[in-house]
C-alpha cells in the first residue's frame, strides 16, 4: 500500500475522467456530482497519504522522501546505448506533501464552485478539470525529472481548453497566449533537463534523471559553474514564465481574467506553484553556485514584480484583473524568499505557495460568485454589496486580510519569513551558506505590502461599502442563486477560511516538516570553516536569533534519534544537525 498510494492518488482523477468520458449520461447534474465525488475520492487519498507521511517518522522529521515507488521505465543497464536510469519514480517529502494537500484541498472546491457557472458542455468541462488534477498531483510527486517534465507539460492542454472553451470574451487569445508562453519556456527547460542528464552520464556513467541523484551531484559540487549557469538559465526560462516573474508575466492577467472561476482558482492556487516548486526542487539544489550568482538578478526581478504588480492592481477596474495582478505581486514575494537562499526565506516561500493558493483561490471564488449574480466585474458598476450580501462581505474582508498579510492569518507568517530571510540573507546564522541579498531588497518589497493593503482594501471598500450600486436586472437568480451566498457557496469558502486561520495561528507543524527538507536537500550547508563566522553573526545580531526563535525556526531537529546520529557523525549526517548536537547553535 505504501508504495502504491501515490500512484493511485495521482491517477485517480484520470480514472474519474474516464468514467465521465465513457458514461453516456447527458444529465448535467449527474455529471457534476460524479466529478465532485471523483475529486473527493482523490482528496481522501491525499489525506491518507498525509497520514502515512506523518506515520513515517523519518520523513516527517529528517526531511527524507517517503511513500516512494520506483519502477523501471526507460532504465537500461549497459547495453548498446549505455546505462540509463529514467524511471517512474514518485515520492513525497516535507515540501511536496503540502503542495499535494493544497491540490487535493482546492480541486473539489473548484469543481463544486463550477456547479452553477458551467452550463454548456458540462461533461467535457469536468473531464478536463479531472485530467488537470492528475497533472498537478503528478508534478508534486515526481522524483524523476522526465516524469516531472511530463506532468508539468500535461497540465497545459487541459487548462488550455478550460480557458479556451469556457472562458470570457477574449478566451481564445488568452488561451493561446498562455499556451505559447508556457510551452516556449518549457521546451528550453527540457533542453536543460536533457543536458543535465547527459552531464550526469559523463560524470557518473549513468544517464540519470533521478532528482535525488542529480541533487547529490549538484550539492557535491560536481557541476562546474559555467555549466550550472546555462542550466540555470534553461530551467529559469520555463519556471519564471510559470511563476510568473516580472517581464514574462504578461500572459497571466489575461489568462486569469478570461478563465472560468474554477480555472482561475486552480491556476492561481496550484499551477503557478509549479514554477516556484521547480525552482525549489531543481534549480536551488542541483545548481547551487548558479543560484547564488543569479540570486540578485532574480530577486531584483521579483521585487520589481512586487511593486509593479501592486501598482498595476491598484488601477484595475476589473476585480478579477486586480486579483490577477495581486498574484504577480505575491509571487514576487515568493521568489524573493526563495532567492534569499536562507532557511527563513525558503521556508517562508514554500509556506507562501500554500498561503497564496488558499487566499487568492478564495478571492477568485468570491469574484466568480459576484460575477454570477451581477454579470460584471467592473468595480464602478457594483457597490455597497455588504448590505444585501453580508456573508459575501464577511468572506471578502476575511480573505483580503489574509491576502494582505494581517497578523493572525496565514499570509502574515509567510510574508514575514520571506522578508526576514531576505534581510538576513548575507548572514550564516542558520548554518547555511551566505546569500547575496540584503536590506536593499527588503525595503522596496515591504513597500509592496503597504501597496497591497492599499489596493485590496480600496477594492473592498468600493465593492462592499457605500451606497448600493447594482447593474440593471440583477442580481440574476436564474441558476438558483440567492441574493446572498447560498449554502453551497458558504460551504466552499468556509473550509478555506478555517485553514487560513489555522495556518495563521499555528504554522509550526508545516514549518517543522519543511525545514529538515530545506536543510537536507534545498540549501547548501556552510563549508566547515565558516561555522565560526555564523556564531559571530549571532553574537553581533542577537535580534536575528531572537526573531528566528520566535518563529520556531531553530527547532530543526530536536528528537533523540537524529541527535544521536548527528553526534556519531557530526560532519557527515548533515551539518545542521551536527551544529545543534554540538550545542554551537541554540537548540
Amino acid at each position: 500500500m505504501a508504495a502504491w498510494i501515490l500512484t493511485i492518488t495521482i491517477f485517480s482523477p484520470l480514472g474519474g475522467a474516464l468514467w465521465l468520458l465513457l458514461g453516456e449520461s447527458a444529465d448535467a447534474g449527474r455529471v457534476r456530482r460524479a466529478a465532485l465525488v471523483s475529486s473527493l475520492v482523490t482528496s481522501f487519498l491525499v489525506l491518507v497519504a498525509l497520514i502515512m507521511f506523518y506515520a513515517d517518522s523519518n520523513a516527517a522529521t529528517d526531511g527524507s522522501f517517503c511513500l516512494e515507488h520506483k519502477s523501471a521505465w526507460l532504465t537500461e543497464t549497459e547495453d548498446a546505448v549505455g546505462t540509463i536510469d529514467v524511471s517512474y519514480h514518485v515520492g513525497i517529502d516535507g515540501i511536496s506533501i503540502w503542495l499535494l494537500v493544497l491540490t487535493g484541498f482546492l480541486s473539489p472546491l473548484a469543481i463544486w464552485a463550477s456547479f452553477s457557472g458551467i452550463k454548456e458542455r458540462a461533461r467535457e468541462y469536468y473531464i478536463w478539470m479531472l485530467v488537470l488534477q492528475t497533472g498537478m498531483l503528478g508534478v508534486f510527486c515526481a522524483m524523476d525529472l522526465l516524469l516531472f517534465y511530463i506532468f508539468f507539460e500535461f497540465t497545459l492542454v487541459p487548462l488550455y481548453f478550460l480557458i479556451g472553451v469556457w472562458g470570457g470574451k477574449q478566451r481564445r487569445e488568452a488561451a493561446n497566449k498562455f499556451f505559447i508562453y508556457t510551452l516556449a519556456g518549457s521546451v528550453l527547460t527540457f533542453a536543460a533537463v536533457l543536458y543535465l542528464a547527459y552531464f550526469a552520464y559523463g560524470k557518473t556513467g549513468v544517464f540519470t534523471l533521478d532528482i535525488q541523484a542529480l541533487t547529490e551531484l549538484g550539492r557535491g559540487g560536481l557541476i562546474p559553474y559555467g555549466i550550472q549557469w546555462w542550466l540555470f538559465a534553461g530551467f529559469a526560462a520555463g519556471f519564471s514564465i510559470k511563476v510568473p516573474l516580472f517581464p514574462v508575466h504578461t500572459w497571466l492577467p489575461l489568462a486569469h481574467t478570461e478563465a472560468p472561476t474554477a480555472g482561475s482558482v486552480i491556476l492561481a492556487g496550484v499551477l503557478l506553484k509549479l514554477g516556484t516548486y521547480g525552482f525549489t526542487r531543481l534549480s536551488l539544489p542541483i545548481l547551487p553556485d548558479a543560484a547564488i550568482a543569479f540570486a540578485p538578478f532574480m530577486a531584483t526581478l521579483a521585487v520589481i514584480g512586487v511593486i509593479y504588480g501592486a501598482l498595476a492592481a491598484w488601477v484595475q477596474d476589473d476585480v478579477k484583473k486586480l486579483v490577477a495582478y495581486s498574484s504577480v505581486s505575491h509571487l514576487g514575494f515568493c521568489m524573493l524568499g526563495l532567492f534569499s537562499l536562507k532557511m527563513a526565506g525558503v521556508t517562508g516561500a514554500v509556506l507562501y505557495m500554500v498561503n497564496h493558493g488558499l487566499s487568492t483561490g478564495a478571492l477568485f471564488l468570491l469574484v466568480g460568485m459576484i460575477y454570477e449574480r451581477y454579470h460584471t466585474r467592473d468595480i464602478n458598476k457594483i457597490g455597497g454589496l455588504a448590505k444585501p450580501m453580508p456573508w459575501l462581505a464577511f468572506f471578502l474582508v476575511f480573505f483580503t486580510a489574509s491576502s494582505i498579510g494581517l497578523p493572525g492569518l496565514n499570509g502574515f507568517v509567510s510574508e514575514f519569513m520571506v522578508l526576514l530571510g531576505a534581510a538576513t540573507s548575507s548572514g550564516t546564522a542558520d548554518g547555511i551558506k551566505a546569500g547575496p541579498l540584503g536590506f536593499a531588497y527588503v525595503v522596496p518589497a515591504a513597500t509592496g505590502i503597504v501597496l497591497g493593503a492599499v489596493y485590496m482594501l480600496w477594492m473592498c471598500q468600493r465593492v462592499l461599502f457605500g451606497p448600493l450600486i447594482e447593474p440593471p436586472n440583477t442580481p440574476d437568480s436564474s441558476a438558483g442563486l440567492t441574493s446572498d451566498l447560498t449554502r453551497r457557496e458558504i460551504s466552499i469558502l468556509a473550509p478555506i477560511a478555517v485553514v487560513c486561520l489555522a495556518i495563521g495561528v499555528y504554522p509550526k507543524p508545516m514549518i517543522e516538516t519543511m525545514q529538515p527538507v530545506i536543510a537536507k536537500s534545498v540549501l547548501q550547508p556552510l563549508p566547515d570553516h565558516s561555522i565560526e563566522e555564523g556564531q559571530e553573526h549571532f553574537a553581533e545580531h542577537p535580534e536575528t536569533e531572537r526573531a528566528m526563535r520566535r518563529l520556531g525556526l531553530e527547532t530543526t531537529t530536536t528528537d533523540a534519534t537524529s541527535t544521536n546520529a548527528a553526534s556519531a557523525h557530526p560532519r557527515s549526517t548533515g551539518r545542521i544537525e551536527g551544529l545543534y548536537a554540538e550545542g554551537r547553535l541554540p537548540g
Binding site: 523501471a72 521505465w73 537500461e76 547527459y198
Partner: protein, 536 residues
C-alpha cells in the same frame, strides 16, 4: 556484371528465402492483375488478395528477420563480392513497418474508396509497385539497384497521385511530381556515373573504400564532393528534404487521402534508411582517423536537416487545407529524422547506435501519429467532401470520437507529453546530446534547432485543435464508419501506450538497429557474408 548478363545464373535456395517478401509482393501484383480477368473486376476481391499478399509478405519478413538477426547477409548475385541485395535487421525492420502500413492503407482504401472504385487492380499494382521499390531501396548498397529501386518506388507514385483521371488538380500535381522526380533522378544518375567512372564499381562499399583512400591521400576531392552531392540530391528528393521538397505539398494535397498517408510515412522512411546506410558505409570505410575529412558530409546533412524542419514548419503556418498542412508537417518530421543521420557521418562515433535506434523508434511512432491524423482527415473528408480546416470546426461536438484521437495525434506530432511523439523526440535529442558532447558543436546546434522547432510547430497544429475544440459554426455531425473510428482511436491509445511502455518500443528498435550490414569480408559461404565491422 558480365556474369550476370552473360551466363545463366540461379540463386541459392536460401537466397530466395531471404528475398521471399519481395517475391511475394511480385506474386501479389501478378495475382491482382490476373485474378480479375477470370473472376471479374470486383474491388473487394482485389482488396482481399492484396491483404492476403501483404500478410504473407509480413509473415515471411518476420521469419527472415529471425534468421538474420545475428548478422547482415548479402546475396542475390553471382559474384559474392558485389552483392546485389542485403538482408539485415534494418531492412527487415523497414519491411515489417512497410507491410503493416500497407495493410493499414489498404484498410483505409477499403473503407473509403472500395465502394466506388472501378480500377482497383491498377490502383494496387501501382501501390504494391511503390512498396516493392521501397523494400528494395532499404536492402541494397549496389548503386545500380539503388537507382532501380528509387525509380521503382517513384514511377508508380507519379501515376497513383493522379489516379483520379478526371481531376485536373491531380493531373497537374502528378506532372509536377514527375518532372521533379525525373530531374532529380537525372542528377542522381550523373553523380553515380561519376562515382562509377572514378572507381569502376557499382558496389557502394567498394566505392566508399575508394573514396576513403582518395580522401586520405587528398586526391579527387572536388569530384567526389560533386558526385556525392548529386547522389544525395536524388535521395533528398525522396525524403523531400528542403530544397527538394516542392513537389511534396502539391502531391500530397492532390492525391487521394490513402495515397497521401502512404507516401507521407513509408516513402520518406525508405529514403532515410537508404541515406543512413550509405552514410554509414562511407563512415565505416573511412575509419576513425578520417573524421575531419568527412566533416563536410556531417555538416551538409546537418544543415539540410535544420533547413528541412524549419522550412517545413514555417510553411505549414498559413495552410488552410489540413492535408496540405500535414504534408508540410511531414517535411518537418523528415528534418528531425535527418538530424540523427548526420550523427552517422562521423566515423566510429559514440552516438551511432543511439542514432540508428532513435531513427527507428521515431519511424515506428511517427507511423501511428500520421496514420491517426490522416485517418481522421480521411473520415471527415469522406463525410463532408472537404479537407479544409473549416471542415473540422466543432468536431468535438460533431464527432467526439474523431476529435479525441485527432487531438492525441496532433499533440503527439508537436511532441507534447503524454504522447509517444515526445518519446520519439526524446530519443532523437538523446542521440544528439550524446554525439554533441563527443564530437562537434554541430550536434548541439541541431539539438537547439530541434527544440525550437517543436515550439514553431505547436502553432499550426494548434490551429486545427482550436477549430475542433473551441470553434463551432453549427455544421452537422459527422458519421464515420465504425471500423475507421476504431482504427483512429486505437492509434490515439497506442500513442499513449507507447509512452508508458517506451521501453519495449526502444528494445524493438534496438534489436533491429544492431548488426547493420556494413563493409563485407568474404567467407567461404557463397552469398553469406560475415558481419565483421562493429555495429554502429
Amino acid at each position: 556484371m558480365n556474369q550476370l548478363l552473360g551466363q545463366a545464373w540461379i540463386p541459392e535456395g536460401v537466397d530466395l528465402f531471404r528475398f521471399s517478401p519481395e517475391l511475394t509482393l511480385v506474386a501479389t501484383i501478378v495475382l491482382v492483375l490476373a485474378v480479375p480477368m477470370i473472376m471479374g473486376r470486383s474491388a473487394r476481391l482485389v482488396g482481399g488478395i492484396v491483404m492476403l499478399g501483404i500478410a504473407a509478405a509480413g509473415w515471411l519478413t518476420w521469419r527472415v528477420a529471425a534468421e538474420v538477426s545475428g548478422q547482415g547477409v548479402a546475396g542475390m548475385s553471382p559474384d559474392p563480392a558485389s552483392a546485389m541485395l542485403l538482408v539485415d535487421n534494418l531492412s527487415c525492420f523497414f519491411k515489417l513497418i512497410l507491410f503493416f502500413f500497407a495493410a493499414c492503407v489498404t484498410g483505409m482504401w477499403w473503407m473509403g474508396s472500395s465502394a466506388s472504385e472501378r480500377n482497383a487492380p491498377e490502383f494496387f499494382v501501382l501501390l504494391l509497385g511503390t512498396a516493392l521499390g521501397m523494400a528494395l531501396m532499404v536492402g541494397t548498397l549496389n548503386m545500380l539497384l539503388i537507382v532501380i529501386a528509387i525509380e521503382l518506388a517513384s514511377l508508380p507514385s507519379y501515376a497513383i497521385v493522379a489516379f483520379e483521371k478526371r481531376d485536373r488538380a491531380a493531373a497537374e500535381v502528378s506532372l509536377k511530381y514527375a518532372i521533379f522526380g525525373a530531374i532529380s533522378a537525372a542528377i542522381m544518375l550523373y553523380g553515380i556515373s561519376l562515382l562509377y567512372g572514378l572507381y569502376q564499381s557499382l558496389s557502394f562499399v567498394e566505392v566508399a573504400d575508394g573514396i576513403a583512400t582518395d580522401l586520405a591521400t587528398g586526391r579527387n576531392g572536388v569530384i567526389i564532393a560533386v558526385a556525392l552531392l548529386c547522389f544525395f540530391c536524388g535521395i533528398g528528393f525522396k525524403i523531400s528534404a528542403v530544397p527538394f521538397h516542392f513537389w511534396c505539398p502539391d502531391a500530397f494535397q492532390g492525391a487521394r487521402i490513402e495515397v497521401t498517408t502512404w507516401l507521407s510515412v513509408v516513402s520518406k522512411a525508405a529514403g532515410l534508411i537508404l541515406l543512413m546506410r550509405l552514410v554509414h558505409a562511407l563512415a565505416a570505410a573511412a575509419g576513425a582517423e578520417m573524421i575531419s575529412a568527412l566533416a563536410p558530409l556531417a555538416w551538409g546533412i546537418g544543415i539540410l536537416a535544420m533547413l528541412t524542419c524549419t522550412v517545413g514548419n514555417l510553411s505549414a503556418y498559413m495552410q488552410t487545407s489540413v492535408k496540405r498542412m500535414l504534408a508540410y508537417s511531414s517535411i518537418a518530421h523528415a528534418g528531425y529524422m535527418l538530424m540523427v543521420v548526420a550523427i552517422l557521418a562521423v566515423p566510429g562515433s559514440v552516438g551511432a547506435a543511439s542514432a540508428v535506434s532513435a531513427l527507428l523508434v521515431y519511424i515506428s511512432i511517427y507511423l501511428f501519429m500520421n496514420l491517426g491524423a490522416f485517418g481522421v482527415v480521411a473520415l471527415v473528408y469522406w463525410h463532408t467532401g472537404s479537407d479544409s480546416i473549416n471542415a473540422f470546426s466543432g468536431l468535438i461536438r460533431r464527432a467526439p470520437w474523431l476529435a479525441i484521437p485527432m487531438l492525441c495525434c496532433l499533440m503527439s506530432l508537436v511532441g507534447l507529453p503524454p504522447f509517444a511523439g515526445f518519446m520519439g523526440k526524446f530519443w532523437i535529442l538523446y542521440a544528439l546530446a550524446e554525439q554533441g558532447d563527443a564530437a562537434s558543436w554541430l550536434y548541439w546546434t541541431l539539438f537547439v534547432v530541434a527544440v525550437l522547432n517543436t515550439l514553431i510547430s505547436l502553432y499550426y497544429y494548434m490551429r486545427v485543435v482550436v477549430k475542433m475544440m473551441l470553434a463551432d459554426d453549427g455544421q452537422e455531425s459527422v458519421r464515420a464508419p465504425a471500423a475507421g473510428t476504431i482504427m483512429v482511436n486505437l492509434c490515439g491509445l497506442l500513442l499513449i501506450a507507447m509512452l508508458i511502455w517506451a521501453q519495449p518500443i526502444k528494445h524493438f528498435a534496438d534489436r533491429f538497429s544492431t548488426n547493420l550490414y556494413s563493409a563485407p569480408v568474404l567467407t567461404v559461404d557463397v552469398g553469406t557474408i560475415d558481419q565483421t565491422t562493429a555495429h554502429p
